[in-house]
């Protein structure tokens, strides 16, 4: 909310400097967002007199003026304004002056052959209004040479403060003054408005009916109306216009300006109807579906049953508490005025405001709560201003409905202040602060009674009172007090899953992946392609159509990122993400996953072309390696994992697989991307990916000791033997390796596959698998016969399990 220091001082008797006031506002919770000092921006503009205005010899629309600036010789100025004339008073800017309205520094010039040494300014050039039809035309008595800001009383400081939703009382300048006075910045002046007696008998011929059904919400709880006759509307007086202009409001006419003035001065929005445009019975009711209204902002709004309106026999006149209608509004011709001051339910106002999208000054105040005591006081203040400015006569106020403000008294243990803040404040100061804020404090023991004023419905309990005291005393005065340190070494801070995420990230980064963080929401198409798209995971109000579904997998986001990078010319890249995926909307439907994609020519060993090696496309084994390395870093023994040739739906069916710990506990998937998916999502051709469900890894068993198993090292040299087998080409190598290892579990310590090939000389549908078997003698060196025996067992075991034959 904007106000000027000058206006503030209507309500605050103070000697404090502007800086003190501004600083204090922020300290007590009325955060200053901007301070604008007009005197500074317009300091160089002065009042001048046009001594002569002659037609420019070379241009029909220009005039050559001799200007008396009050200093030295008259100055020659070329001016294009139609209203420039001999003898007028205006506003002068000398060469070198910064013109805020056009954002340039004025320089000396020659215009069509005539020298020009300054400018006669329009209001727009001074940022005072949008008016650029002519130059500012000042009254004849304006003193030549005086600073224009001083003459026009624009030398005010405009302060813009942010009002939190709980402080409806500070949406009026009077409330701001009260808070400042409580903080020791001067004395609050008496804001009481003395009611003026009605000059016309009775309430006049407009009465107000409430037409609310029994079960309907009733946004309007109390309506005060007052009928004025024979008013003369027109431009409001200069002082009023200046105040409104200073805070960024456009003066309209006296009646509109007065309602705006009361709204800012007291935080009490009013609405002025042209009484002659009210037909039949004036009433408040909820709108009917299909009704609409042309509002004062020139837009038509559709209304519905949740919105309270003021209406007459012909239909809606005003969106209650939000904005009036254009047709029933006051104009310069208005002579009869019906003035509204009503009390509205803040929640209903907020709801209607949200639905219509109107951000009016009325809504801003009413949705924050306006003091019910101001309903009539605001009316009286407006009455005084209207009679002063517009003349006319006035009826009694007609009041419909009633608002009984809750009388709230809080038992306030004084120790609560120290308990919650650490601050020690003597009772006398507590009492003084609360009293200055308008609370009544009774008693003097450990627990006092505090009565809450009607303009502070946000004060509900003792904690709120603590805040009031603390903010006025100053949060800066709260002593900083160390949180007691632990008496032991800090215990483990992360859960197992949090640790897994951390380790997975570091492991994948170490394998050459860049970590990405992508949106939790993806398009429906992507979601469906990765097994999602359920209704419960759709957003009702997505920010855009392609961010509509909660992701069932991390891969779509990563693949979209691959596409974006590829389109920028970065085709070889590896991206991973560790984060949440959603299988249902329930808390246990959210899982922690790690996933990675390698695209283009990006492998663990090499990226793109290089003189040292051939550029390779990332394939299924690249993805498998990344998955297994991550699992290993997470402490999962790869020997315990089962690899099953049942890939994920996103994977190439023959070049992908899954990893599990038993058939019911699937831990991850790896593979090359399915060509159909590549086509569907318009992805680059070579992409390998993996997914890892971090939640599926079993929690490590609690161990009695951290000691590792005993290590026995043999002094005997190991023996290595190579075997080549010819097997069916669809034989899974894993089976053969396992069979070889099981031939002598005691002595065979390792089996590694070192060659795989298929060739015509092996026969159709055959392949060769060559393994190296490591034998570790235990107690004594093995004889050749013993080693041969083990070799026989290996061949037999492999034959039995896989039907593979030793190559001849």
């Amino acid at each position: 909310m904007k106000f000027t220091i000058d206006w503030l001082k209507d309500h605050l008797e103070t000697t404090a400097s502007n800086d003190e006031i501004i600083e204090t506002l922020t300290q007590i919770g009325l955060e200053v967002e901007e301070v604008e000092d007009q005197a500074k921006t317009l300091a160089d503009f002065t009042v001048c007199e046009v001594i002569s205005a002659e037609k420019h010899p070379n241009a029909d629309k220009l005039r050559v003026c001799m200007v008396n600036t009050g200093k030295g010789e008259p100055v020659k100025v070329v001016c294009g304004a139609p209203n420039a004339r001999t003898g007028m008073k205006g506003v002068f800017a000398a060469s070198g002056t910064y013109i805020p309205g056009t954002d340039f520094v004025l320089s000396k010039g020659v215009i069509r052959g005539e020298e020009s040494n300054g400018m006669l300014c329009s209001e727009r050039e001074l940022l005072l209004s949008d008016d650029h039809d002519g130059i500012i035309d000042l009254p004849a008595d304006a003193p030549v040479g005086e600073r224009y800001v001083d003459y026009a009383k624009l030398n005010d400081v405009v302060v813009d403060i942010a009002i939190t939703p709980n402080r409806g009382d500070c949406t009026g300048i009077y409330g701001v003054a009260r808070d400042l006075a409580a903080a020791g910045i001067g004395e609050l002046k008496d804001g009481t408005v003395k009611p003026l007696p009605a000059t016309l008998a009775g309430e006049g011929d407009i009465s107000v009916e409430f037409r609310f059904g029994e079960d309907e919400p009733q946004a309007c709880q109390q309506f005060a109306g007052r009928l004025f006759k024979n008013v003369k509307n027109g431009p409001s007086p200069e002082w009023l216009q200046q105040r409104l202009i200073a805070i960024g409001l456009r003066p309209i006419n006296a009646l509109a300006d007065i309602t705006n003035y009361v709204s800012y001065d007291r935080g009490r929005p009013l609405h002025a109807y042209d009484a002659d445009k009210i037909n039949g019975q004036f009433h408040a009711r909820n709108a009917k579906k299909g009704e609409e209204i042309l509002a004062l902002d020139g837009k038509t709004y559709a209304l519905d049953e949740t919105m309270c309106i003021l209406a007459d026999d012909n239909g809606p006149l005003c969106i209650g508490g939000i904005m009036g209608g254009e047709e029933s509004g006051c104009t310069e011709e208005t002579t009869s005025l019906f003035l509204e001051s009503a009390w509205w339910e803040p929640i209903e106002i907020a709801q209607t405001g949200r639905k219509t999208g109107i951000n009016s000054d009325a809504r801003y105040r009413l949705e924050r709560h306006v003091d019910p005591a101001l309903t009539l006081a605001g009316m009286e203040l407006a009455t005084k201003l209207i009679l002063d400015i517009c003349g006319g006569e006035v009826h009694d106020i007609t009041v419909t409905g009633e608002v009984q403000p809750e009388e709230k008294v809080i038992d306030f243990p004084l120790a609560e202040i120290t308990r919650l803040t650490g601050l020690k404040v003597p009772f006398a100061e507590v009492k003084a602060v609360l009293t200055r804020l308008g609370f009544w404090v009774a008693g003097s023991g450990d627990v006092v009674k505090v009565a809450v004023p009607t303009y502070r419905p946000d004060i509900e309990g003792k904690a709120d009172l603590v805040e009031e005291v603390m903010r006025i005393v100053g949060v800066d005065n709260v002593p900083v007090d160390p949180l007691p340190r632990l008496t032991s070494v800090a215990p483990k801070m992360l859960t197992t899953i949090q640790n897994r995420r951390r380790i997975a990230r570091r492991a994948l980064a170490a394998r050459g992946y860049n970590e990405a963080v992508t949106w939790s929401f993806i398009s429906e198409k992507e979601a469906v392609a990765f097994g999602g798209g359920q209704d419960e995971l759709k957003l009702e109000n997505p920010i855009s159509a392609d961010l509509s579904d909660m992701r069932p997998s991390l891969l779509p986001g990563l693949l979209a990122a691959v596409n974006r990078n590829t389109n920028r010319g970065i085709a070889d890249l590896s991206l991973f993400e560790v984060g949440q995926v959603f299988k249902s909307a329930a808390p246990d439907g959210q899982h922690n996953y790690a996933a990675g994609v390698r695209a283009g020519l990006d492998t663990h060993g090499q990226v793109g072309r290089d003189w040292q090696g051939k550029a390779e496309k990332p394939d299924v084994f690249e993805a498998k390696a990344d998955l297994f390395e991550t699992l290993a870093q997470l402490g999962v023994d790869p020997n315990n994992l089962q690899i099953v040739a049942e890939p994920a739906a996103w994977s190439h069916p023959g070049r992908g697989g899954r990893v599990q710990l038993g058939p019911k506990n699937i831990i991850g998937w790896f593979g090359e991307l399915h060509p159909r998916l590549i086509k569907e999502l318009d992805l680059p051709k070579s992409i390998a990916a993996f997914e890892l469900n971090l939640d599926a890894i079993p929690e490590p068993r609690a161990k009695a000791t951290k000691a590792k198993p005993a290590l026995t090292l043999s002094d005997l040299q190991t023996v290595k033997r190579d075997f080549a087998f010819v097997a069916d080409s669809n034989l899974e190598a894993g089976k053969l390796i396992k069979a070889a290892g099981s031939a002598d579990k005691k002595l065979i310590t390792n089996v590694s596959l070192f060659d795989v090939f298929e060739g015509a000389n092996l026969g159709e549908g055959k392949k060769s698998l060559a393994i190296e078997v490591t034998i570790q003698p235990k107690d004594k060196t093995l004889t050749d016969e013993e080693i041969d025996a083990i070799s026989q067992k290996v061949v037999a075991a492999v034959q039995k399990a896989t039907k593979a034959e030793l190559r001849g």
Binding site: A350, G422, V466, M470, A510, T518, V578, Q590
Partner: protein, 367 residues
């Protein structure tokens, strides 16, 4: 009789041949020719047996001296030739050591600034005895708003541009419509419901608001903190936050300004500004005379404590919330929040962190 002249000539002849040997093979031929079984010196030595003792006494040392001299010279020449051969071999094996190496995986890989920042935060708060807590991104209206003292229809709710889930409230649930959590504060409730005080937790996580411009993204990250016990107050809240900010920004001291504010779930509520300098191209925290709003905080509202089944006259504590992305931007100088979620590889390379750059208090948060 020994013909010393002839011996001298022989020696000279052999040594010349040694000197002239071009390689080890030629040298070997010289050696055989002189010292071999039928070599010139060997032949002479055979003649010693036929000499008289007197003759032998003269000829013996002369011949043996010759033999030794020649052998020494041959060995010296052999070493010389071997060295030359090795030099030649080494010269032929020379490579261009300026041939470039590709960046290895550890150099290519990077950690996202958000993950790094969370690790930094974790390091600091673990020292103060906090644990990390988490909760679901899809929350019920109850946990996101109602339990946190946001009354139905309150304008404060409107300040949270909320994403709603399409489906009406879950089956058999009376927790209202499901939403994407607008803040990490629901985890306060979930923790207080299940854990006995004293509680000291920080809650990093994704949060969502349907708002998108240069400074707002529909998804962002928050860090929530919660302390609940029987004595923690605003003086300690100030200490925790000032210590955190100083440690996080790695400066000697960060001046803070606590301003009274309003949040439905805290009372009293405050916003915190940090001292900063905006005069250059970058914002510098901990110096200068400007202020920048950085977080919101306050004492947990009695209604919130009550909603979790605790007695607000017995238990009390404080909470705060701040943007992780925001403090990361302030510390590391990223100009635009939207880039955090674009996964532009150039951005990740530039602003990302090395795989082994693990923030710790003992090693320093950032290197």
């Amino acid at each position: 009789m020994v013909d010393t002249k002839a011996l001298d000539a022989l020696k000279s002849e052999i040594l010349t041949a040694v000197e002239n040997a071009a390689d080890l093979k030629e040298l070997d031929a010289v050696r055989v020719g002189a010292l071999g079984k039928k070599g010139s010196i060997s032949e002479q030595l055979k003649g010693l047996g036929k000499m008289t003792p007197e003759e032998r006494q003269v000829a013996g040392p002369a011949l043996n001296g010759l033999k030794t001299d020649v052998a020494v010279q041959i060995d010296a020449k052999a070493e010389q030739l071997e060295n030359a051969a090795l030099e030649a071999k080494l010269a032929s094996e020379k490579v261009d050591i300026t041939l470039p190496l590709q960046k290895g995986p550890m150099q290519r890989g990077s950690i996202h600034p958000i993950s790094q920042t969370i690790d930094e935060i974790t390091a600091i708060f673990s020292d103060m005895g906090f644990a990390i807590a988490e909760g679901p991104d899809i929350e019920s209206d109850y946990y996101n708003f109602t339990a946190l003292n946001f009354p139905e229809g309150h304008p404060a709710r409107e300040m949270h541009d909320t994403f709603f889930m399409k489906q009406e409230e879950g089956e058999g649930s009376n927790q209202g419509k499901m939403v994407l959590r607008t803040h990490t504060s629901p985890v306060q409730i979930r923790t207080m419901e299940t854990q006995e005080p004293p509680i000291r937790i920080v809650i990093p996580g994704r949060t969502y608001r349907c708002d998108s411009d240069q400074t707002h993204t529909p998804m962002f990250h928050q860090l929530e903190g919660l302390v609940i016990d029987k004595s923690s107050h605003i003086g300690q809240l100030r200490w925790v936050l000032e210590e955190f900010l100083t440690a996080f920004f790695e400066v000697d001291h960060v001046k803070t300004r606590f301003r009274p504010s309003f949040f439905p779930f805290t009372e009293p509520s405050m916003e915190v500004d940090v001292q900063c300098d905006r005069s250059g191209n970058e914002v510098k925290i901990g110096e200068g005379s400007d202020w920048m709003e950085i977080l919101g905080c306050g004492m947990v509202h009695p209604n919130v404590i009550r909603n979790c089944g605790l007695d607000p006259d017995v238990y009390q504590g404080f909470a705060w919330g701040m943007g992780i992305d925001r403090i990361a931007m302030l510390k590391y100088g990223m100009p635009d929040l939207r880039d955090f979620f674009g996964a532009d590889q150039r951005w990740l390379d530039h602003y990302g962190f090395r795989p082994l750059d693990l923030p710790t208090l003992f090693g320093g948060l950032s290197s």
